[in-house]
């Protein structure tokens, strides 16, 4: 009995070795991150510590949000299952160190794409999944309806370690207003302090303001001022130096946006295989060999669309239906008056 067991084991081992050799493509060999991810069986994804609409965990620990969906898309493409993601909640301060030190493989945490971040600190931005801008929230009762009414001595609550701190200084300096910055390490404390009346205004990205407003004691008492003081293109980030992984994340995001453009949804993706449009057929894996370039099979994009949905579905599910920002604003397809425009998948 034991004799056979020994032979059986070696047979299994040989088959396994053979299998590894045949399935491991050139791309996977080149990409350490892809190889590690496939070996581990889950995508390691850094998200926020709780920002409704972008990355937020419910009571059962299930993460939802448009940032979360990017990681899910990558998991669907690489591992075949959108749920095979390990989420690591990170503060603004920790996020880049976590990525560069290899603790996570994708940082999808409402992170602004700037030159210095892209060039300096070992990071590569792969795209934009939300076009945002910094704004101000004030109490309705203050009577302030525009940033033009800000006066010397105003106190502003915000987070440390964000572009917000820098934009805020630029804004107040250019207007010649003396202000008191009150910067906290975590978003929850910012909200609590502003809500308690410590600050006259709360400033961060407008999407963040809209999302955090839902956490206030009395959301109706606060308004977000109309002015936008900065450009904040938010998007997923990967480590520098693994271009295959970078491409996989970039095109997982692009697939979601392109799918919306062609009207492919999680519901009709399978039917689209018989479409007359070659662009659609390529996206659902019925034509071409797009996955091969990444070392993935040809259904990678179909899986993203079926399991996560297209960008529009993700936006509706996470941001519009939750009442955070029902109007898509600039985050609408270029064909519908927005600025979402991705290179063609071909």
């Amino acid at each position: 009995m034991f004799k056979y067991l020994k032979q059986l084991t070696s047979l299994v081992a040989m088959v396994a070795v053979l299998f590894t050799f045949t399935t491991e493509s050139m791309a996977a060999k080149k990409s350490k991150t892809l190889k590690n991810t496939q070996k581990k069986g889950f995508v390691r994804c850094g998200v926020s510590q709780g920002l409704p609409g972008f990355s937020n965990a419910d009571a059962a620990g299930n993460w939802t949000g448009v940032d979360v969906d990017v990681c899910r898309a990558v998991a669907a493409a690489v591992l075949g299952d959108a749920n095979k993601v390990k989420f690591t909640p990170l503060s603004a301060k920790e996020r880049f160190t976590a990525l560069t030190s290899g603790e996570i493989d994708i940082l999808s945490r409402n992170t602004t794409w700037t030159l210095s971040r892209d060039a300096d600190i070992g990071l590569t931005f792969v795209g934009v999944n939300f076009y945002d801008g910094q704004g101000f929230m004030v109490r309705k009762s203050s009577g302030i309806t525009s940033t033009g009414q800000f006066k010397d001595g105003i106190s502003a609550c915000t987070n440390i370690g964000t572009t917000t701190e820098l934009n805020m200084r630029d804004f107040f300096n250019s207007k010649g207003i003396k202000y008191e910055p009150v910067a906290f390490e975590k978003a929850d404390e910012v909200v609590a302090a502003y809500d308690a009346g410590r600050c006259d205004t709360y400033t961060t990205d407008k999407s963040g303001l809209a999302a955090q407003r839902t956490k206030m004691k009395n959301p109706d008492e606060h308004i977000v001022l109309p002015e936008t003081i900065s450009k904040e293109p938010l998007g997923p980030v990967v480590r520098q130096g693994d271009s295959v992984w970078e491409d996989i994340v970039r095109w997982s995001l692009n697939t979601m946006i392109e799918a919306e453009e062609y009207g492919i949804t999680s519901a009709n993706a399978d039917m689209m295989k018989t479409s007359d449009n070659p662009a659609i057929k390529r996206l659902v894996g019925a034509e071409g060999e797009l996955g091969a370039a990444f070392g993935l099979d040809n259904d990678w994009s179909l899986r993203i669309i079926k399991q996560v949905g297209n960008y529009g579905e993700s936006y509706k599910r996470n941001i519009a239906d939750t009442g955070i920002l029902p109007d898509r604003g600039p985050n609408q397809l270029w064909t519908k008056g927005g600025i979402l425009y991705v290179p063609p998948a071909r």
Partner: protein, 383 residues
Amino acid sequence: MNLKLKDIVPQLITVIAVVLIFGFFTYNAQINMENRGIDFGYGFLSQESSFDVQFSLIEYDGSHSYFRAYLVGLLNTILVSVIGIIIATILGVIVGVARLSPNYLINKFAAFYVEFFRNIPLLLQIFFWYFAALRALPLPQDAEAIFGVFFLTIKGLYVPAFIWQNFSIFFYSIVAAVIAIIVIRIYAKKVQENQGKQIPVFFISIGLIFILPLLSFLIGGVKLSFEVPVLKQLATTSFIYEGGVSLPPELIALTLSLSLYTATFIAECVRAGIQGVGKGQKEAAASIGLTPNQVLKLVIMPQALRIIIPPTTNQYLNLTKNSSLAAAIAYPDLVLVFAGTALMQTGKAIEIVSITMFTYLTLSISISILMNWYNKRIAIQEK
């Protein structure tokens, strides 16, 4: 010879092992940073920081350098530590003595205070004083004036600012008073040693420290006026006080929580110190005719201090290090400003964390050296 080798070899191996381990990590970090395209260097310290800080003891804004931002954070850390140590010491001594009081109420109250505050995690206490106490404070427009000039509000404590004329003369008058007191003390000691007469040094000292500065006002041309904070409206329901000095609520909450927490430990040190002095000492001192005050000052305290100082030093160190929890409530200390914002904006994690660690190390060692020096001074002089 053999014995020596046996002694040296294990030590040598240990040293080599430590060096190798450190070398391995340094090398690894270098390789990793190179692979990920991260530069190493301290050049960023002279770059413009471009972020503002809420509260600073030196002139600072975003147009200054990162090094200046580091100094701002460092000074804020020192400020909160020094105030915290002073309050904690005073409170600790009072509570420590109170725990030995024969009065049941005082005794139990002190015991309750110690057990309550030292058994709740410090971070929770900081959050409590900041968020609970903050919510309980009035908005600036609703604040009642304390003594007509102080305003305690949710946006901070506003106190009148001093406006001096000829401040230097006032300053010199205080220096002169201090020198005079020292001279009188030395003289008084000599008189007592030679003639056995006692000069009431304490009352003379108090007199001097009041009279000399008072003279500087009367004949020195020193003038002092106050600038009282005035309420200013920013918007319909948004107000602040202008003029005077404002202490941010973050500083108040942090100092309060650090002092209340550390004072419990100091109180226990003080109690241990006093109880550590034998009962016979007190009785013997009383029997040779010393007054109760002299017993405490000349016999009990010098011996008790020897027991109190070393553990109290630990508490001072703890308080200084605990002040780094400031980051949680937006007090701009070294960790928040430098290891927080500056680290984020530059991405120089290794450099900034190493500077911050080295700074705390230096601070702690300075306190240690100071306290050890004091400890040595009061130790038994073996002849």
